[in-house]
Symmetry: D2
Subunit: 271 residues, 4 copies
Amino acid sequence: MPQGFSIPFSATGRSSLAPRPPWHFVGDFLAIEFWADPAAVAALLPPGVGPGEDPGKCALFFSDNQYVSEGGTEIAEPSVNQYMECLVAISASWEGKPAAACPFLFVDNDNSMVRGHIQGMPKQLGTVRMTRSFSLPSQAAPLDGRGGFYAATLAHRDRRLVTAGVTLTHTTEHAPNRMLGRLINVRHMASLQAGRHERPAVHELVRQSARDVARSQVWTGTATLDFGESPSHELAMLQPLRTGAGYRYTFAMTVDDLLPLRDLSLGAAHG
Amino acid sequence: MPQGFSIPFSATGRSSLAPRPPWHFVGDFLAIEFWADPAAVAALLPPGVGPGEDPGKCALFFSDNQYVSEGGTEIAEPSVNQYMECLVAISASWEGKPAAACPFLFVDNDNSMVRGHIQGMPKQLGTVRMTRSFSLPSQAAPLDGRGGFYAATLAHRDRRLVTAGVTLTHTTEHAPNRMLGRLINVRHMASLQAGRHERPAVHELVRQSARDVARSQVWTGTATLDFGESPSHELAMLQPLRTGAGYRYTFAMTVDDLLPLRDLSLGAAHG
Amino acid sequence: MPQGFSIPFSATGRSSLAPRPPWHFVGDFLAIEFWADPAAVAALLPPGVGPGEDPGKCALFFSDNQYVSEGGTEIAEPSVNQYMECLVAISASWEGKPAAACPFLFVDNDNSMVRGHIQGMPKQLGTVRMTRSFSLPSQAAPLDGRGGFYAATLAHRDRRLVTAGVTLTHTTEHAPNRMLGRLINVRHMASLQAGRHERPAVHELVRQSARDVARSQVWTGTATLDFGESPSHELAMLQPLRTGAGYRYTFAMTVDDLLPLRDLSLGAAHG
Amino acid sequence: MPQGFSIPFSATGRSSLAPRPPWHFVGDFLAIEFWADPAAVAALLPPGVGPGEDPGKCALFFSDNQYVSEGGTEIAEPSVNQYMECLVAISASWEGKPAAACPFLFVDNDNSMVRGHIQGMPKQLGTVRMTRSFSLPSQAAPLDGRGGFYAATLAHRDRRLVTAGVTLTHTTEHAPNRMLGRLINVRHMASLQAGRHERPAVHELVRQSARDVARSQVWTGTATLDFGESPSHELAMLQPLRTGAGYRYTFAMTVDDLLPLRDLSLGAAHG
């Protein structure tokens, strides 16, 4: 019988796009706070999830990442263990407490896509780029501190969806990834059987669970952020009305669990 | 409430990777019959699916495809409506009748991946290429008939997994896509909740259903086929022991249904 | 001594990006006539090349191509012998006769880039896509005739530079590739030696030479064309003020010569 | 008149693939010393360049780079200022002193290709990947010091050409980039005019010149290295007979000059 935690199954299971958890992650992040039209944010809240206290508040997280499963053998294959990511978070509330939801999320590796789908994240492919820092001074690299300028971009279907920049000014204790502290996701698998297209096989609210979380010192500063229009994507409905601070830091975590919150498949037909 | 048939959900639903069915497909195919080690084939049969009458019999299908949902607006965006595919079929039996299963399937577009997952196909990303024909004679293009040589290749994780070639000799009524006439797929969605990793949320056998199927004249001929080794994939376990005929044809179909066969989630833990 | 017609040289010469000519080409084309600001066109005419009779007249040629050198062994490797191209032609005159120049040209294969540089074409990388036709009727494919709609797109540096569409209405004898009948190119190789940056090692006007030219029947119709802005490219200076007809056809030729017209390196410093 | 240091020329010159020098570079390097068949190395020495004292000695340099021209505006566009590189150096001698030549060099950005061609480097496209380090401990990242394991891979034409790994053991003063201290390159531009295919327009030996060179501390350790076969490339003729040490360091330099050594175009026909 074919083995594996996810498709494709195989004789040994080692071909699976998502291997058996735990999944260990580390990434360099560039994050930008922004405020979008509260109505546009509300239209993207999952069923049953309420608006945040500051209902137009959002954040964009670019990251340059490595991942391994237990044992870490994936390190030998950078094509397997590296990926770039661009994640949009919108402020929300769950059971009266601050939370966040993730309407859009782009990565450049199909194994990251499939891990994300299992977590309830709507991962799709995009081309994500971020300025790097280096350990030598050079005109070709920003300072890893005050005055350093970092750019980040996202393209999807051959169009530029995000163009962002952050200029570092000082260190801070207030990183925007606190938004991700209570991240509400939607696990979903559509049904294709005739007559059941409106009744997905899986449709549930879950909360992301992470352990062994670590974060480096955080640099913050001023930011610019622009979303491009596309006939193939609605990210631009969250076009920033105001851009807040930018942040640069490194983050690590391990994932091998999630918290089920509510089965949405029993309620009204979706979509 | 966010709309859509699949992730990502959005205000209008038009950002979904898989739009609401029906899905209309057309593609130029290069197919090659081959025989692999029957034990390797048996190890890839889904739970409950029996071996074929000719138990090592397999076929590889390369295709260069376009797809649209109802209304066809995707034609305006080739980045949305085009994809290349390489599908491996193994002979099987279901309820005593000839059938096929698809252990491995590679495409180059994430929307094709997500449609495939909904159908129960284990789609992952790969780089697929095929020789084309043109309507003018040229040394740069094969004849679209006797003597024409067509190549096809698959790469995955920066390695060549398949190198194939077909030289056309005559037309035939016996196309290998009859193998796909009863294609048994496995819909699967893993569980990430601690303690439930062995109990997938969705695990079911389904049979592919297609309507409005059309096929062009089929050219056939001699074929060569070689599978490359990779630490990241087990396709090479199906290394051809013998290669049969090759085929070139165009195929069209519409998909908006599938047939549920058996819920596998109730049985023994998977994998 | 290392062998080869172009870099990289090697023991046998077979690693060269551009092999020894002749080079045989065949491609499916989608072309669109348009008119840009005559001043923008004039600013792109090579030194010594005059404006065309209709000085803002331009054309864009998308193509899906295969190429081989003599003997045709490249057909066995689609990654070598296939490429997509998007070429901009501007009307010009040379020695009092109608001619064209090519300020911008995008391809998706480095061997095509290097062949182009040897021809005096300013090839750079881009992502080029075109709708295909198929030999079966399908909602997923346009008709290969009256009413068929074909799209084409170009992306560069993660931005959409061109979005185009053509709806076929009738056949014609007037294909826009007549513009390419007298195509004036600029062969150029910069100098890096200090003090000589303004004196390129090669800077010459040449005229493209092709033999064994063939063209299929030409379908024509209405067209739409839009150029996107980019900080990394100036194509949008040729933003269409008016769009003319669109064309779809197949074209084949062989190249193993070019005609030197004028050595520009002896004149005033360039740029 | 169109402006620019390199193709494509444009109204302002800012579209040029290679902007006017100086070019400032910084990169993280993973380098591996190895010994190949001395006859294979000799067959790749440029005309007039002698063998090294240790005639089979070679080194492979993987790097993850950023570049800017004077003023540094390219930092705002990671798609412009980032590239990955894999460079093969072979030991050589010039005028009786140790030197190196670079027969093969792969990058993933066309602007890097064109800068390289101007320098006399045989840059072509490849897919280059390297393990990264991060500032937080994680199973997903190697230590940036003793015991850290770093992988690097090169793919070309959908085949794996290089699979490499380095395990760091201690710091050293002996970095392999001393091989690059006297790097002899070949500037070359082929002729396409009939009858002149054997007489390139440019064919000259040059020596690389760099200023403002800086290097970080160097970690060294044990290494593994394997070259894959390909019908499209001859790198595997340098298959390592023995692999030496591996190295990891950061390197920065500025380039705006080169030293002409010898005009090869006057001698015997090439190739």
